[in-house]
């Protein structure tokens, strides 16, 4: 709450110094923004923690320590711990290919990466049911080999990976394009192997974008509801993740339990925003110092 207000407050302070709008307009605009934030972010945020703790800390802790809740937390952590690394690997590979090489179908790849963002998560879930469900295309083969994907953990992981697919790549592509390939070429000519150039030059150059992508990807992986809901079958203690568990508890009128789990997800979101800000700060200040150096050089050049 405090953090949200400070974020809105900072630009308003700056505006009062540099912009010459009448005082009344400024106050009106700032107030509108703050009221909007209060109703649409502050109040819900407050409500989550209020209802979670409404019946006392004891009930709160008890609902978290519940067997099924712990199972849901474990499932969510498991899903994220597989989906996020997969997407990091894919994101780096895709960004590398798109930023460094020209090839046929590059435009198609760039467009396709965004597909998971474009389709509704429910449809994404349906796709996997159609592919791997018992009536699906691979259903018979999977059944005969005793592999269970739909209504099981692999399905949840697949659906989550699909939905969060574009995030890391989207963060990395502009970063890699901006850093160019000259430094990698320099590394190679200095005797580095491709592997050394990758770990010592390419990755450090995009590390902030990568970390940023990982954090957002993780938040999205843990919070995914729609696609997971379709493929999981919601088997208590087996295929229920935290967002699904919140819904189940809520539908059973167990508000204290539902909001207790919801508060955990909310905390995750707050930590994510905080981490994002901490990461964004050094990344932006780096860019500025680079730009400044270049503009100084440009001026020197002009003077000459």
């Amino acid at each position: 709450m405090a953090m949200i207000i400070s974020r809105a407050g900072a630009p308003a302070r700056r505006a009062s110094l540099s912009v010459s709008e009448p005082r009344l307009v400024r106050i009106a605009l700032t107030t509108t923004a703050l009221i909007f934030l209060l109703f649409f972010l502050g109040l819900p945020l407050f409500a989550v923690f209020f209802y979670a703790l409404n019946k006392g800390v004891g009930v709160y802790l008890a609902s978290i320590a519940d067997r099924y809740t712990l199972s849901a937390i474990f499932k969510t952590l498991l899903t994220a711990s597989i989906a996020v690394p997969l997407n990091v690997a894919f994101g780096i590979a895709a960004a590398w290919a798109i930023a460094r090489f020209d090839f046929h179908g590059k435009n198609i790849l760039t467009t396709m990466i965004d597909l998971p963002f474009a389709v509704s998560p429910v449809i994404a879930g349906m796709i996997f049911v159609l592919l791997f469900g018992s009536q699906g295309i691979f259903g018979a083969w999977l059944t005969s080999h005793d592999i269970k994907i739909i209504f099981a953990t692999p399905g949840i992981i697949l659906a989550t990976t699909f939905v969060t697919f574009p995030i890391v790549a989207r963060e990395l592509i502009p970063a890699m394009q901006a850093s160019g390939s000259e430094e990698e070429e320099a590394a190679l000519s200095l005797g580095a192997s491709g592997w050394q150039a990758f770990w010592r030059v390419t990755i450090p150059n995009v590390k902030w974008a990568l970390l940023y992508g990982v954090i957002i990807c993780n938040a999205r992986a843990m919070g995914e509801f729609g696609a997971v809901s379709v493929v999981s079958g919601s088997i208590r203690g087996k295929t229920v993740t935290m967002p699904l568990w919140v819904e189940i508890l809520y539908n059973e009128y167990n508000f204290a339990g539902a909001f207790a789990v919801a508060s955990l997800l909310t905390l995750l979101a707050l930590v994510t925003i905080l981490a994002k800000r901490l990461i964004a700060a050094p990344a932006i200040s780096n860019e500025i110092s680079d730009e400044r150096a270049e503009s100084i050089e440009a001026k020197l050049g002009e003077a000459a």
Binding site: E182, E183, E185, A186, A187, L188, S189, L190, G191, A192, S193, Q196, R200, V201, P204, N205, K207, N286, S289, D290, A293, E297, L300, G301, A303, A304
Partner: protein, 349 residues
């Protein structure tokens, strides 16, 4: 280390960057690859560095086939136009990079690396910026760090891409002198790319002129400047007046319409440098021709005259201040121009 380039061709899509280029570079030479942007000079440098694979042709280092060697196997120091310093590393780590990535059995220990980096930073006179990042350095400093980094791997060949291109004029002149001294001390075979003819002529032992992917001329600065092999070289190096004329009975005729269908009088392009045109108040011999003074610029070591010939071509001439006073020239004055004949170049076209 000597370099031999044999019939290198390289195309990008439909663009022919290098067209059957051959070149020999002797051990310890300082070679300038000179040409406009897009003439293929940088592509050749990248082929030498192993950063670009030629479509056909060979590169030999010291007589050994090196065409298929990768960049890391070539032991070549490459200095990029925009330096390509590793931005997340300090200056010290940038210079140490080439030593740190060596295979374990030939990697120097930490103390040796420290010593070597110190030596190199002293060599480029920048030991005091070891802990800084590239973004905190000026352009000239970055350039020298990039050079120190390239020298750290004890390259047998040094390749420099527009080494002074992004620097202002004063720093560029200083660095040029410094690089020349460095080359004299280290004596590494060095190839550098430039579009600045002054830089190429001043720094290179030999100059290679590129035009549209082909080598136009290879020679010492004196040879290419005073004995240009092609019209392109003449036009590229220094100011020049171009006349269309013809040869008649072994003599030049300016301005007159070429006689068609008569093989005895081929059309010619005649190039005369402005300082090789004598200016006189009266006609002198058969080669002189009349012109009218348009503009006079006497600020500088020579007086620059802009004139127009009687057949309408603009001409530039440069004469000494003494001569200028003796002639007592005014705008619109009618004068006679005499090319100093032994410096007139005639190309049949």
């Amino acid at each position: 280390m000597s370099i031999e380039i044999r019939n290198i061709t390289k195309t990008f899509g439909t663009f022919k960057a290098l067209d059957n280029v051959s070149l020999e570079i002797k051990t310890g030479e300082l070679i300038a690859l000179l040409g406009r942007s897009g003439s293929g000079k940088t592509t050749l440098l990248r082929v030498l560095g192993g950063l670009e694979i030629p479509d056909s042709g060979q590169v030999l280092f010291h007589g050994e086939e090196a065409t298929d060697r990768s960049a890391r196997q070539r032991q070549v120091g490459f200095v990029f136009q925009h330096y390509a310093l590793f931005r997340h590393m300090t200056v010290f780590e940038n210079v140490a990079f080439g030593l740190r990535v060596r295979p374990r059995n030939v990697r120097p220990n930490e103390e040796q690396i420290r010593k070597r980096v110190r030596e190199l930073l002293n060599l480029v006179q920048l030991d005091w910026v070891a802990d800084r990042y590239a973004s905190q350095l000026s352009g000239g400093q970055r350039q020298r760090i990039a050079l120190a980094r390239a020298l750290a791997v004890e390259p047998r060949i040094l390749l420099l891409d527009e080494p002074f291109g992004a620097l202002d004029a004063k720093v560029r002149r200083d660095l040029r002198q410094w690089l020349k001294r460095l080359h004299d001390d280290l004596h590494i075979t060095t190839v550098f790319v430039t579009h600045d003819q002054e830089e190429a002529l001043e720094l290179g032992n030999r100059v290679v002129l590129f035009h549209e992917g082909r080598v136009e001329q290879i020679g010492t600065p004196d040879e290419v400047y005073n004995h240009p092999a092609t019209p392109f070289v003449f036009e590229f190096l220094g100011n020049v007046n171009l006349f269309h004329g013809r040869v008649e009975n072994g003599r030049l005729r300016f301005g007159a319409e070429p006689i068609n269908g008569n093989g005895a009088t081929p059309k010619s392009k005649v190039y005369v440098r402005p300082h090789l045109l004598e200016v006189s108040n009266s006609p002198a011999g058969q080669d002189s021709f009349a012109a009218t003074v348009r503009q006079i610029n006497s600020a500088g070591p020579l007086v620059k005259l802009e004139l127009v010939t009687e057949w309408g071509d603009p001409v530039s001439a440069e004469i000494s201040h003494d001569r200028f006073r003796a002639l007592d020239l005014q705008p619109r004055a009618r004068v006679y121009l005499i090319p100093k004949e032994n410096r007139v170049f005639v190309y049949q076209i």
